[in-house]
């Protein structure tokens, strides 16, 4: 947010802070309200109000702390049940807090989270130094302290809530918008980091902690090896939430981002297996080889099973979306529900829910997006981002609150050694694995990369929740574990999170490519991909491209036919894109009324410059506008053989920038110019000589009401451009060419033909005067054409150019 002065944002922030403070004050008040016992309703069953958020000490599993309601209106005296003689006044106003308590508190917390988020952006100076996650934890600490100060017990982040409600939106958001190219290109590396790296971390840490515990004098010798290994497995997993939160703000290059992020996602399977394994084993007296083998097997079951569940649900979702063309409104819901079901089903069988979620998002996305409407797509995008943002905020706030609320057991040796060994384990793991991986990678990981990967191994709320799940019976040192976990989380999030940005700058790590790709880039890279595929074929090497190609072909032949509705399975997505874009441009233009400022740096390069032969008359043609560029880019991207695609920058919180929204002013200018040009150009075009019209008539006709011109059959050398906008086969070529026409209106003739000027023929559906610009996609081409006509139409009677006759041919 650009602040006009440093004062203004702080001043603006003040009301927010007041609101927040008021809300915070409200919470404990409400708590105390609920606490006052009412003997009248003492018989109220306790489980009537499931204590979802309310604070309860770990021992209280079925907590229902405030199970009495406060009612102002006096009730009939219970002691004399039979005879109610006492008549009360009709309550005009009453308070029944317990009735709405749970939703009210939940909403209050979410509101708090959102206001906090808002506040940080209103005061930008702080958020530049400190990552948002840190600030949120601090807020959580404050809130927790406040609640405690009032005398209440602050709520603790319960594992159920975390795993069932807070985590899935974030993971779904990550999975649905996962940049698949980068992910699959680096899949080997990611897997090795996730699996081997986490295993190494867990065992190294567990083993070392066990050794530390054995040192006499620390009072820790009662902690067995298995308990330590369990602790190690909990703490060793890199947390996706924390990684996302921190890495997003530093805009690091795509490769590193996807490596660390992918690792954090995929290590869930390992964590789940190890956790359950050691939890079970802690009960055993002895661990046999069979157990170890079973554990090994369970890893595959968990991970592949999770993926399998996700794929099933993804396919079902894609299939469902095929039929939703009649009820567009609930389309997004299908996406969310199926994904959530995938997650829950996986959790049901103790499979990896995260992998299921990711798999379902990845699988369903291409097909669902081909089937659903544009609005549904936007809805899905926005909802996912919204939920994941809120979830993340809530998680961090609750981490802070739980720190204050929980019971802690501070043991210096344990905690400090945990911290140190965590770091060492991470660094060693990354170094060792990179050395191994670099043998197989083309793009080697430099030491700088390795440092960032090691440094980016943040722990987060997953570790905390897993620790929270530990049973007191078997793990008496649970409090100590929790304290250690929280310490490590705080350290990684605060210290590493805060310092990673200056370090990235210091080390001059490559950042995300901000510049948009040019058309040339696109063409060249595609060309290169083709070249490489050819070379690979020559070499006889079954490389990346080969398998990708096979997959694509399989996809096209079988899968798409099933999962995508109707004829869209054959349609290149280009067409839909064009229609939407044209529609939007038209709407924007109409709304704005055609005003626009001249952007400062226009390239004056025109067709004249690159192909000077063709034009009979000199004219300045505008250079390509950005939206045109985007169209072209889209054509290229979607029609060229996709052998290998570039790394695209990926930022979770920024929605994909609409290209046409950026180029708004430029586009307006172009259209304005185009319209002016159109008038000029219409006078300069040649008309087939056999039409016995006077120049004025022809001029008028071209300008106002284009009818179908028959191209001269024996015109011989005249290059002819026919545009058939209503033709369903090539709307995109139409749109592009028409776009060009509006702008340039003069394409150089093909080389084999004589340069004699251009004949422009327009065949349009003759239905002028329709002002229904916003026909929603029913008959796209004609309406498009109508729109374009509306836009390019200078009016029913164009001003005749002063005294300039038609130039019959480019003589």
């Amino acid at each position: 947010m650009q602040a006009k002065g440093s004062r203004a944002p702080s001043l603006r922030a003040l009301p927010f802070l007041f609101i927040v403070a008021a809300l915070l004050g409200l919470l404990p008040l409400l708590h105390s309200h609920g606490l006052q016992p009412n003997p009248m309703l003492a018989s109220e069953p306790p489980h009537h109000y499931p204590a979802v958020i309310s604070g309860s000490e770990p021992g209280d599993v079925t907590a229902a702390p405030h199970d009495v309601s406060q009612e102002i209106r006096p009730l009939p005296n219970r002691t004399s049940p039979g005879h109610v003689k006492y008549r009360k006044a009709f309550p005009v106003l009453g308070i029944d807090y317990t009735h709405v308590r749970i939703p009210f508190e939940i909403s209050l917390w979410i509101l708090l989270a959102c206001l906090m988020k808002l506040g940080f952006h209103v005061i930008p100076s702080v958020s530049n130094i400190v990552p948002e996650s840190c600030l949120l934890i601090v807020v959580g600490l404050l809130v927790g302290g406040l609640i405690k100060g009032v005398g209440e017990s602050p709520p603790i982040l319960k594992s159920d809530i975390f795993f069932l409600f807070l985590l899935p939106p974030i993971i779904l958001d990550a999975g649905y918008f996962l940049p698949l190219r980068q992910f699959t290109e680096n899949l080997g590396t990611i897997l090795i980091f996730a699996v081997v790296g986490t295993l190494w971390n867990a065992f190294f840490l567990g083993g070392l902690m066990y050794a530390v515990c054995q040192i006499s004098g620390t009072g820790l010798s009662h902690i067995g090896l298995l308990a330590n290994l369990l602790f190690g497995s909990i703490i060793s997993a890199v947390d996706p939430v924390a990684v996302l939160a921190v890495f997003e703000e530093i805009h690091i290059n795509e490769l590193l981002h996807i490596l660390v992020f992918g690792e954090s996602l995929l290590n869930d399977a390992v964590t789940v297996v190890l956790y359950h394994l050691f939890e079970e084993f802690a009960n055993f007296e002895q661990v046999t080889v069979t157990d170890i083998i079973l554990g090994f097997l369970s890893f595959f079951v968990v991970s592949l099973g999770g993926v399998f569940v996700g794929v099933i649900y993804g396919v079902i979702a894609a299939f469902t979306s095929r039929f939703t063309s009649h009820i567009r409104v609930i389309e997004p819901l299908f996406v969310f529900l199926y994904s959530y079901m995938a997650y829950l089903s996986a959790e049901l069988f103790h499979l990896s829910g995260i992998m299921a979620l990711i798999a379902s998002g990845v699988v369903m996305r291409p097909y669902v997006e081909a089937n659903i409407s544009h609005k549904s797509h936007t809805t899905i995008k926005y909802f996912l981002k919204m939920w994941s943002s809120v979830s993340e905020t809530l998680i961090f706030i609750f981490l802070g609150v739980s720190t204050v609320a929980g019971k802690h057991y501070w043991n210096w040796t344990f905690i400090i050694s945990t911290l140190i060994f965590c770091l060492i384990a991470r660094v060693l793991g990354v170094l060792g694995l990179t050395w191994f991986i670099n043998k197989f990678r083309i793009v080697k990981l430099t030491p700088k990369d390795q440092f960032i990967i090691a440094y980016g191994g943040l722990r987060g709320a997953i570790a905390f929740s897993l620790g929270y799940l530990l049973d007191y019976q078997h793990f008496g040192m649970r409090d100590m574990f929790l304290t250690a976990i929280i310490t490590v989380i705080f350290f990684t999030v605060f210290v590493q999170g805060m310092t990673i940005r200056p370090l990235v700058d210091l080390l001059a790590v490559k950042k995300k490519q901000e510049t948009k790709r040019s058309i040339n880039e696109e063409i060249h890279t595609q060309f290169l991909d083709h070249l490489l595929t050819g070379i690979e074929d020559i070499c006889g090497h079954y490389g990346h491209h080969h398998w990708k190609d096979k997959l694509n072909r399989f996809n096209k032949k079988y899968v798409k036919k099933c999962l995508i509705a109707g004829e869209r399975s054959k349609e290149p997505q280009l067409i839909a894109f064009y229609h939407k874009m044209e529609m939007k441009q038209a709407i924007e233009l109409v709304e704005s009324g055609g005003l626009g400022k001249i952007p400062s740096a226009i390239s004056t390069v025109s067709m004249q410059n690159i192909n000077p032969r063709a034009l009979p008359v000199k004219r300045i043609l505008p250079a390509l506008s950005k939206d045109k560029e985007e169209e072209i880019r889209k054509i290229l991207r979607n029609n060229l053989q996709k052998t290998r695609q570039r790394l695209r920058s990926y930022n979770r919180h920024t929605l994909v920038a609409d290209p046409y929204e950026e180029a708004w002013n430029q586009m307006l200018l172009r259209r304005q110019k185009a319209r002016q040009l159109e008038q000029k150009i219409n006078n300069y075009l040649t008309v087939p000589a056999h039409k016995l019209d006077s120049p004025t008539m022809s001029r008028a006709r071209i300008g106002s009401d284009p009818q179908a011109y028959e191209p001269k059959s024996d015109s011989g050398n005249l290059p002819i451009i026919t545009i058939d906008p209503a033709s369903p086969q090539s709307p995109e070529s139409v749109d592009l060419v028409n776009e060009e026409l509006k702008g340039t209106s003069c394409l150089p003739p093909s080389p084999e033909e004589d340069e004699e000027g251009l004949v422009m023929h327009m065949m349009e559906p003759s239905s002028p005067g329709t002002d229904n610009v916003f026909t929603p996609g029913a008959s796209d081409s004609p309406s498009n054409q109508r729109m374009m006509r509306c836009l390019s139409d200078p009016g029913p009677q164009p001003e005749p150019e002063e005294g300039e006759p038609f130039i019959p041919k480019g003589k």
Partner: protein, 175 residues
């Protein structure tokens, strides 16, 4: 000889030789397989084959700046020659158009005009990158190699233009 300069190891040369023999059917030279009498040579022998392949070497870690730069230029030069079919040192609009048309030939829906417009647009963009502001009467002849380098400035050609020479099993030549 030139092989030492190209930097391929002996083992890779053996691989490639085997592959060459397979493709060429044990002839000493490869025929130009294109239908049209395009291109500059009718046949290439193994040395040419090798030279071309050497352009696709992956970047080695131990290269210094100068070597890297040279490497990059070599690769880009190769690409440039692929565009510049008449070998006059610059990519003209017609050549560019041809390239784009061929690239887009996969989709039968796209008309030739679109390909042409795309090429035109790309050329305009190239001109604006390389020359910047141009007067209406200036003519941009074509993309020279320097301009080409400029266009590729942001992109990492080194990381893209490579083939793994690690293992090349001679597979059945099925075409």
């Amino acid at each position: 000889e030139g092989l030492a300069k190209s930097g391929i190891t002996l083992e890779q040369i053996e691989h490639l030789h085997r592959r060459f023999k397979q493709i060429s059917g044990d002839q000493p030279t490869l025929r130009n397989l294109r239908q049209a009498p395009d291109g500059l040579a009718d046949e290439i022998n193994f040395e040419d084959f090798l030279t071309i392949m050497s352009y696709f070497r992956p970047v080695e870690m131990n290269m210094d700046e100068e070597q890297l730069d040279h490497f990059r230029k070599e690769k880009l030069k190769f690409l440039f020659h692929m565009y510049d079919s008449d070998n006059d040192g610059k990519i003209t609009l017609q050549e560019y158009r041809k390239v784009v048309e061929e690239l887009l030939s996969r989709n039968p829906h796209l008309e030739k005009e679109s390909a042409r417009s795309i090429a035109d647009g790309a050329m305009m963009e190239a001109a604006s990158i390389c020359v910047g502001q141009m007067e209406p009467d200036q003519v941009y002849e074509g993309i020279t190699f320097e301009d080409f380098l400029k266009m590729w400035q942001g992109i990492d050609i080194d990381t893209k233009m490579h083939v793994r020479f690690l293992n090349m099993e001679p597979i059945a030549h099925c075409h």
